[in-house]
Amino acid sequence: MPESTNETVTFTLDGREVVAKKGEAIIAAAERAGTYIPRFCYHPRMEASGNCRMCLVEVEGPRGSTLMPSCFVAAGEGMNVCTNSDKVKKAQDGVLEFLLSNHPLDCPVCDKGGECPLQDQTLLHGPGETRFVEEKRHYEKPIALSELVLLDRERCIQCGRCTRFADEIAGEPLIDFAGRGDRVEVSTFPGEPFSSYYSGNTVQICPVGALTATPYRFAARPWDLDQVESTCTGCATGCRVAVQSSQGRVTRLLGVDTDTVNHGWLCDKGRFAFEGLNADGDDFELSDPRRRITSPMVRTNGELVAVSWSEAISRAASLLGETAPESVGAIGGASLTNEGAFAWTSLLKGVLGTDSVDAQLGDGLDPSLVLGLPRATINEAADACTLIVLSGDLREELPVLFLRLRAGAATKKASIIDLSNGSSCFDKVAAVRLPARPGDAPQVVAALTGDDEAMKVLARHPEGATFDADAIAKARHLVGSDGTGVVVVIGRSSLAEDAAFVEDAALALHQALPKATFLPALRRANVHGALDMGMSPGLAPGRVSMEDAASSLSALWTKKPTSTGRTTLEQLRAMDQGAQRVTVVLGADLGADVPDADLVQRALSSDAAIIAVAGNGSTTVAAAEVVLPAAISHERGGTTTNLEGRVSRLGQKVVAPGDAWEDWMMVTELAHELGTTLPFGSLDDVTNAIAVYAPSHHGLTTSLLASSQASDGVVVPLGTETLHERKAADPMAIPGLASADHIGLGAFTGSITSETPSESNQGASEVAFSQVRLPERRALNAVVPDGYALRLVSGRKLYDLGTAVSASPALAALAAPAVAKVNAYDLDRIGAHSGDRVRLRSQKGTMIIAVESDAHVARGTVAIDFNVGQAGETTNAVLALLDSSVAVVDVRMESLS
């Protein structure tokens, strides 16, 4: 008989003894013990609300046995619970009859039909036939809750999953129940739609067909969907997804519940950006992101002309082979898979011998900092006592990471110290705000870690410090003495500020708080994998510097770069000055992503030849000498790495359009043309080569990745985390996952495997290797503020002018126009009002833009989002002011009204 401990209780479930965690609901304890209790409103990732009554069970009490909602009642010591008595069955039968009396029987035309919890549970537990002969309710339909989510009110069973998600998980209660009794309906406030970045999740967890998403509505039937599990590459969070397709086109993405990363949630960009894949190839200009690149092209007589692969490869190979290594470079790589990144590094560094390879676009952080700092996992950050946020707005950059981190603070388990300037996603939940003006992060961190002198320096700003002594005292208390339990999120909070400031601040935190760990919030898809694969000057594959590169690498590399190469910005300058003759651009859109418009313009119009490897059109593609069409997102397999260093598998679901190839294939062909044979005969060969040649990925073979303990991916180096078997999916938590074809996902069988960690297959033991060393702290010159100017802050927006959003019609419509946000105090100083147009002038240029007052923007600063266009325009407006050669950008503002 099982024994209870301090953390557990033992109760009787259908006549057998079952152990539950203290405080655990009966429904969850029963599920772990293999008894599945039907449910609608209960969702394992949200607080129970007990309002659907489907999970009623019989519980024996002092006054006889009573029916209780098992989602709402915690298992108690000695409790006697029965889930299958006649009384329970009668209750389930009754609940379903009630639900169905107001539910239309339009299953044949309902998107949920075939994967519907109400349908499935009615068949399992329902009355079998109806006594309801009256006319059903009829409502006007569908009601648009937002641009993406539609509501069919008569189908709603008032479970409240969507409203609870919006409130509890997303923290944006923009939808709520209105009315009472049978007139209850989910509704928004007039004029305030459910415009949340997470709205698609409500569609995913709706247990009936009441909520549908515009891109999927009437697009397919569940039984026609084919499914593969993969990882979302929309940002570097690495959410696990099920990619579903019909007739060779991706039709829907569903979040897969993993304990380690996304808890089943996705952001709307990740969920709906697949629309861009289906864009029809040749209808758009080569510079348009909506254009899919479907065939290789070579510039002939000034025009890009479609050619065969062999012709394009031979042209590209002759450009690369006939140029001295120091005149060859490569920009981009964050959109590649690990295999693509490893293949390109092998070609560029190991065959051609150039070190000028940079996956970051002048908007990232020093890779030796990213790779050298002690790294936290997402779970560690979510469970941290104190979280220091020294990054851009995470909701805009890494939306699901924000959900995970918000959860701790919203339940008051974690305290957040937020250093961002301007409105931040943590406004409502942060314990302390210490807004750092551009260039001030090192001083703010110094003040935070006990340096009173730094407080005085900050107070010398013409507009004063952005926080007071109380705030700093509270923050110091939260941080503690050595940083135990502290996780720091580092990233670029502004592209108008030299990365050196945040890098120095991070190093200072590491010195002052040696036990603190760091979560590098570089946002671009697989930028972390690209850095791991050595796609940065001075790095070799496997998180080692070129000097420490594995000696075994000589078996693969015929050459080794002799000097440290150029970063992206240096490469662009070298292209302009004629020092770099050939540049491979890997999936990047230089015009939109590099925070220096002039420089890109000069580089693109120089005589340096560009070999563009791309899936979508861009100005870079249009300016290229050779264009190689690449398979993107769900068109390729391989692995990707997220910001915690988790390597997870990508599932190929559809075939790339036209002649597009996977990167490793074109690299192998190029190498062959250049006279070197890379030993890559298949994608698995590349994955296994990474496991051999990249020290950090040692032992991460295809067989380990394919094992059931690696379903959620594996954090490298192996041994960093304990591998778990994934809990089987709850079919009612994410309807649609279990009903579709089970490729890569455990089929739901009614029994739930336990989540005990498995002792076997912990992977190879930890391999010692000399990980990249942290950079030395440099003395930074404080940039003296100009009392007449405002310092520019330029952060990211989720819906911007980037390829993913622009190529997806549903998302492109949601991009908001650029505005300049300033503190009301500064607005007053220049005599402007919210909504007025102002002229902004930096050393670089001028722009005219609408201005808005924002109380969270610190005095003396102005915030304009990066890669966002002015109303009706599709150019990155703030580029007019940005200059990559200065540490901070000061702008003068004048009112035009």
Binding site: E172, P173, L174, I175, D176, F177, A178, G179, R180, S187, T188, F189, P190, G191, E192
Partner: protein, 201 residues
């Protein structure tokens, strides 16, 4: 600019201060808006949302749940006729039907002159004088069709002004003392009241 007029802003702030969580003042604030406007307009709900730190959708969700909160304009006089069991047996339904006829509107609607809104209500807790009728939540003790018609014409002529305030006014005398933001004082007062109740029994 405050949404409230005539010193109601101060009252709103007082209401928020007496609760440990500001959102707990949501319903009292809704009544305050109704006292001012007669119903909860969208602007009024937005104002309540801002004061309570919730979204307007949540205010609307709450307001639409309760019968005494109206999100559509109502007449100057909200006439409620009870049709619960005691009143039903005493002719509540017939009185309601009569009211529809004499006001010329269906249940739930407002007369064209904007004076009367007719409502069918659940038990109003005045069963000894059934069928029970309320005007703006005040008992009018009108049980027969004739009495009802007399009441309507009296109200049309501006009668009973002292007895029946305009719609939305729950109470006309208000405890204004000791309601400042002192939770200790509130707790003390509550404890004293409880002790007094216990002492009586």
């Amino acid at each position: 600019m405050s949404y409230f007029t005539d010193g109601r802003q101060a009252r709103a702030e007082q209401l928020i201060a007496i609760y440990p969580e500001q959102r707990s003042a949501l319903i009292p604030l809704c009544h305050l808006v109704q006292e001012q406007d007669g119903y909860l307009s969208e602007e009024g709900m937005v104002a309540v949302a801002e004061l309570c730190g919730v979204t307007p959708a949540e205010v609307r969700g709450t307001a639409t749940f309760y019968d005494m909160l109206h999100t559509e304009p109502v007449g100057k006089y909200l006439v409620g006729v009870c049709t619960n069991i005691a009143c039903l047996l005493a002719g509540g339904l017939e009185l309601l039907e009569h009211a529809e006829g004499s006001l010329g509107v269906r249940v739930g609607a407002t007369t064209e002159d904007g004076l009367f809104t007719l409502e069918e209500t659940e038990c109003l807790a005045d069963c000894n004088i059934a069928p029970c009728v309320q005007v703006n939540h005040r008992y009018v003790r009108t049980t027969t069709p004739e009495q009802f018609d007399a009441l309507v014409s009296e109200l049309r002529d501006g009668g009973r002004a002292s007895e029946i305030p305009s719609h939305g006014t729950l109470i006309r005398t208000r405890r204004d003392v000791d309601l400042a933001a002192d939770p200790g004082l509130v707790a003390q007062e509550r404890a004293a009241r409880r002790a007094a109740v216990e002492g009586q029994s």
